[in-house]
């Protein structure tokens, strides 16, 4: 527990000291949304809104998370290996990336609303789905980045390994978002949508916790 907190703090401090990474991603989100606004104009129908938003967020997530294990050099990895159990390392990375994704996601949502308008979502479904989605994307991509970092660190590998892993989550998120456009929503339907997203999150985190120790040792 203590290790998780310390590793989390270390990642946060590194991020705050060299702000170029997070600023770069924000600038990327801003420019993509601006391009989308130039291409589509302000008035787009709801389904296009949802698809565009999640695609932009997906690429932001790839950019934000892919560096998490890549930035660790081999010697530093050895150092962590001596200091903390593997489970603490992966959990701290996941928690850090998840909180980074939630912050980034909320900021992108804000920018997106400013440029593209906001369809009338049912917030009781959209916001929890959004938070759970950010969490799931971050933890899935953390694991993929751990795999990719052990195989020569090439960026193409991160993309081809990552896309299949995040697609089920993305499909469920788009599904839930278009579902939340409905005027009247039953609580049962909300819970059904949220629980399927939560289930995928839980599966990803569990698999990561079980499998990460095998990736970590040399």
């Amino acid at each position: 527990m203590k290790e998780i907190r310390e590793l989390f703090r270390k990642d946060l401090m590194l991020e705050l000291r060299q702000k170029y990474a997070i600023n770069g991603i924000l600038l990327y989100v801003l420019s993509t949304i601006f391009v989308a606004q130039l291409c589509f104009g302000r008035v787009i129908d709801e389904n296009t809104w949802i698809a565009l938003f999640w695609i932009i967020l997906l690429f932001a997530a790839f950019n934000a998370v892919s560096k998490s294990f890549v930035q660790e050099s081999a010697s530093r990895r050895l150092y962590y290996f001596m200091l903390a159990p593997a489970v603490a390392v992966v959990l701290s990375k996941m928690l850090y990336n998840a909180s980074l994704m939630v912050v980034l996601g909320l900021l992108s949502l804000l920018i997106f609303i400013v440029f593209m308008g906001f369809p009338v979502f049912n917030l009781a479904l959209f916001l929890p789905a959004f938070i759970l989605g950010c969490f799931g994307l971050a933890s899935a991509l953390t694991m993929v980045s751990a795999i990719a970092s052990r195989s020569g660190n090439n960026a193409a590998l991160m993309a081809i390994l990552g896309f299949p892993v995040v697609i089920p989550l993305l499909l469920l998120l788009i599904n839930a978002s278009s579902f939340s456009l409905k005027k009247t929503l039953l609580t049962v339907d909300i819970l059904k949508n949220l629980s399927s997203i939560l289930l995928i999150d839980v599966v990803i985190v569990t698999l990561a916790v079980i499998l990460f120790p095998y990736l970590w040792r040399d």
């Binding site: 694991m143 795999i147 052990r150 590998l157 896309f163 299949p164 089920p168 698999l207 499998l211 990736l215």
Partner: protein, 219 residues
């Protein structure tokens, strides 16, 4: 010696039977699909064989992570390649079937998209393997990814099509399952065909593993 041949021969006999009987047997005349329903004997069997191969590779991957034996890794990776082979055959037979019943080679169907994405995951497995040089590391990392890929396969072919609103495949979106609608004479051909193809898949796997062992001994 003879014992090794018996199951191979019976696999061949089963497939030969399914090819001949599959063309001759009386099938129910259903709307839209008509006689193309005979493709069920070939198309569905490919997916069954693929599923069994990927399941085998999952078992060997888990065994590798527990035992670290190189032979387990060879078996796991070769069953993935074998599964990809049967998956591609399943896609091709399915596309031909789709052209004659739904009018297009590719339709926007949850099951089709799921199959495509899970094939992509397994192709990514192949790329991942080729990008790592060190043998033990390659075995370990690809075993970890293989477990993820199997989870995707379950989600894509087992879960998502069932909760989707509409699908052209049977067994989803309120359609009845294939097995319930299958009449008795078709079952008599379908089950032997499925068993036959799965046996052939294992036969192929055995040859592939033997080839890898020979290559390793040469080096």
């Amino acid at each position: 010696m003879i014992k090794g041949y018996i199951w191979k021969l019976s696999a061949l006999v089963l497939i030969l039977y399914s090819v001949i009987a599959g063309q001759l047997v009386h099938v129910p005349d259903l709307p839209i699909i008509h006689e193309t329903i005979r493709n069920l004997f070939y198309h569905v069997c490919m997916w069954f064989a693929m599923f069994v191969m990927f399941g085998t590779s999952l078992v060997y991957s888990i065994r590798y992570l527990m035992s670290n034996k190189p032979t387990d890794d060879v078996k796991a990776s070769e069953s993935v390649y074998n599964g990809i082979f049967f998956g591609i055959l399943g896609l091709i037979t399915g596309m031909i079937w789709a052209k004659f019943t739904w009018g297009d080679f590719w339709t926007n169907d949850p099951q089709l998209n799921g199959a495509a994405v899970s094939m992509m995951a397994y192709l990514a497995y192949a790329v991942l393997r080729s990008s790592i040089d060190e043998k033990a590391m390659r075995a370990r990392i690809s075993a970890v990814y293989n477990i993820f890929a199997f989870m995707l396969l379950i989600i894509f072919l087992g879960v998502l099509p069932r909760i989707a609103d509409s699908s052209l495949h049977p067994g989803t979106g309120g359609n009845s399952s294939t097995m319930e609608g299958l009449d008795f004479t078709m079952r008599l051909v379908f089950y032997p065909a499925a068993i036959g193809w799965i046996m052939v898949a294992y036969w192929l796997l055995e040859i592939r593993v033997r080839k890898q062992k020979l290559i390793r001994n040469l080096n």
